[in-house]
Symmetry: C2
Subunit: 432 residues, 2 copies
């Protein structure tokens, strides 16, 4: 009966779109995942490996031998092989390069050479090119002879005899214009195009801004070398939004939900260690005031409020700045205004919330001076938070680092340490 | 000279794509933004309003009178009017409804009726439909007669005489198949389609998964009522990723980088107030142990470490869970395994980092018992963090609330309060 169930499951898997099989594999714990993976037809391995996340792909590839991996890779297009190459064992890649024909080998090697997060790493090579001097009628006949067109194809690329891009012919125009017209007369010459070394981030913004479905990729002298399609861009947008979210939360990389405890722990250690180091420093700031705390234990109870609200308020600022930097809305010329605005918000919040916590401390401990110190410390720490919230991401950006990674940890470090220092320092000076 | 510069600027603006003008408006402080807005040709107002963010749109609409707003809205398609309707004054919408013809009015009213974040709110009405009983030759002639096709059109919708969708004819097939064939013979019948009340989130996942460019939207009886295109889906993906990021950082809504201090402060107050309330509670937990802290001030210096690492570790867990829920990878049947894995990670981290901080406290204060309490408290708080990191977002999801909003605040509340309670409680029991 068990065998019958498996046969039934296998039959169902065969009918599913590779992306749906990938989805099922993602949601299964490791042992069940490998069971299902065994049931997938070998010839579909390649397209499914392409759809799963990096961490799940790793878990699947570990169970495959060299012959299986080679067969899977050979079922893919060159640009698709490049997409999963990072997870393939070195010897499989090498063997693969020897089995490909010269043209494909060159394509694969150039695709592998482009760094992640560039247009070159996202592009594919499935284009249809025509010459400018033919009529639309000829173009239509040519397409019919091809028999099949690539997915996401919404335009033909018009090239000269040196393969240089001179325009594009949108299928829309091809379908609605008199077939007697020449390609040259109908093509669009002003084309959004990319170079393989362009940042993927900028290409994604162009796709969003101009509602593109597909765009040509050309080399330095304008020769057509590939195309970028909206599905690759959407995957990139999703993955980079995910990566930002994960790294802001202190995860080194995408983590398989069902990875082993050991792998999961390792993925989280780097940021936990950094956090621990900054917490130690903040702890030593408090340690310097232990004498004051012994005399007035209320300080210990109140100090996390100052540090915490500073952290929260600073995180609001930092998030807006990171987003503004990512969208390109922040420039050196408007940065001064931003600083003034954030200082304004910090002053306003400092007066409002500072008064609130001041009154709270005063009433709770029947000590108006303690309330005053509390209010003043809150105001000052909110100013610190605003400035740190602006300058930390902007400095990371200036030194060419991703402002989304680590700035939140740095900020909390500043608002914690400074919050403790300001509050305990003021209390020691003014109350004791 | 100033006048000449303005004329020059105006000429440049006229040549830019509306999305590029929108981008410039986003990056300008309010006074300069309004200056540029005045220079934009009135007939382009509509398409530019469509491209800017909600907060910037609000700032622009405030400067426009009723006639200008009506003219801008009338230059847009019905589904586009619906997109900006939320920001238009009530009387403009009402006047608009009276000026539209009956068919457009019905479309606008139905588009306005769909809640945000549904397919209905994202769809447009620019479709090309054909009948199944004609030949491709007839279809090609029909397209040529139309003269112009909508953007992002990669297929024609095949409908019966009751406007029910019976298939789609991809342009790819239309271009590569013998024109003598009938639409019925060539069309694809197994089509990914949506209902207007479907969640936009799920439609976006389908677009990503199946690499769609465009899909039909049908009503309950299968009648074609609109289409969903990849550009609307990409905008939705970007906006909801942004909204998640902003709300996780405690911002109520998208904030114009250059909004006034007052508006910015109001946007941030809700979450600051909630944070303040939770910080008060955590402060009272510490307050309950003031006697212990007076006797051993080292407790005050060490307690933020326990609370802080708990918060960080819990945030790692919560981020993975929120992501798993959003992608649909977490189901009731695999939740138990997730809990076991996270408990495993917490135990491992508790042993490793607990020992580290225990040794640190022991050496620093020359007090082995204090080190032991520190290690034990760390282990326990990491367990609390793991459980809170799983159950908070899963509970929010179960009660149909967005787990991305507020779960981080709730988590920090739990790890702070419990961290202080566990550490100070253990210290009071075991050390004093």
């Amino acid at each position: 009966v068990h065998k019958q169930n498996l046969a039934e499951l296998q039959r169902k898997l065969d009918q599913l779109h590779p992306a749906d099989v990938a989805y099922i594999l993602e949601a299964l714990p490791l042992d069940e995942r490998l069971l299902v993976w065994d049931l997938v037809k070998a010839e579909r391995d390649g397209e499914i490996l392409l759809e799963v996340s990096d961490s799940v792909r790793e878990s699947l590839i570990q169970t495959m031998d060299k012959a299986e991996l080679l067969a899977a890779a050979e079922s893919l297009d060159t640009d698709e092989i490049a997409d999963i190459a990072a997870d393939l064992p070195r010897d499989v890649i090498e063997e693969l390069l020897t089995t490909l024909d010269a043209q494909k080998r060159a394509l694969l090697q150039s695709a592998l050479a482009y760094p992640e997060d560039t247009v070159g790493a996202l592009m594919d090579f499935e284009m249809v090119t025509i010459r400018a001097d033919v009529t639309l009628e000829v173009a239509l006949r040519y397409l019919r002879r091809l028999g099949e067109l690539p997915d996401q194809l919404d335009k033909l690329f018009v090239v000269d005899r040196d393969e240089r891009l001179i325009g594009v012919l949108p299928l829309k125009r091809l379908l609605t214009t008199d077939p007697e017209a020449s390609v040259a007369a109908v093509m669009v010459e002003d084309v959004v195009q990319f170079h393989p070394e362009d940042e993927a981030q900028e290409a994604a913004q162009a796709f969003e801004r101009y509602d593109l479905v597909m765009a040509p990729v050309v080399d330095a002298v304008g020769r057509l070398i590939g195309r970028l399609t909206i599905d690759a861009v959407v995957d990139y947008i999703r993955e980079s939004a995910d990566a930002d979210m994960l790294s802001m939360a202190g995860l080194k990389e995408e983590e398989d939900l069902f990875s082993t405890v050991w792998r999961a722990a390792k993925n989280r250690w780097m940021w936990l260690a950094i956090n621990l180091a900054t917490a130690f420093v903040a702890s030593r700031v408090i340690g310097a005031f232990e004498g004051s705390i012994e005399k007035l234990a209320a300080l210990a109870a109140l100090m996390p409020i100052i540090a915490g609200i500073g952290g929260n308020s600073g995180n609001q600022t930092i998030t807006l700045i990171i987003r503004g930097l990512a969208l390109g809305h922040i420039t050196p010329s408007n940065a001064r205004r931003l600083v003034l605005k954030e200082i304004g918000v910090a002053l306003l919040n400092g007066l409002v919330w500072g008064s609130a916590v001041g009154v709270f401390a005063w009433l709770l401990y029947d000590n108006p001076a303690l309330g005053g110190v509390m209010a003043l410390a809150m105001l000052l720490n909110l100013l610190v938070a605003a400035l740190a919230g602006i300058f930390i991401p902007m400095t990371l950006e200036r030194v060419k680092r991703d402002p989304a990674i680590g700035s939140s940890v740095l900020l909390t470090f500043v608002t914690d340490s400074m919050g403790f220092f300001i509050f305990l320092g003021l209390a020691t000076l003014l109350l004791l």
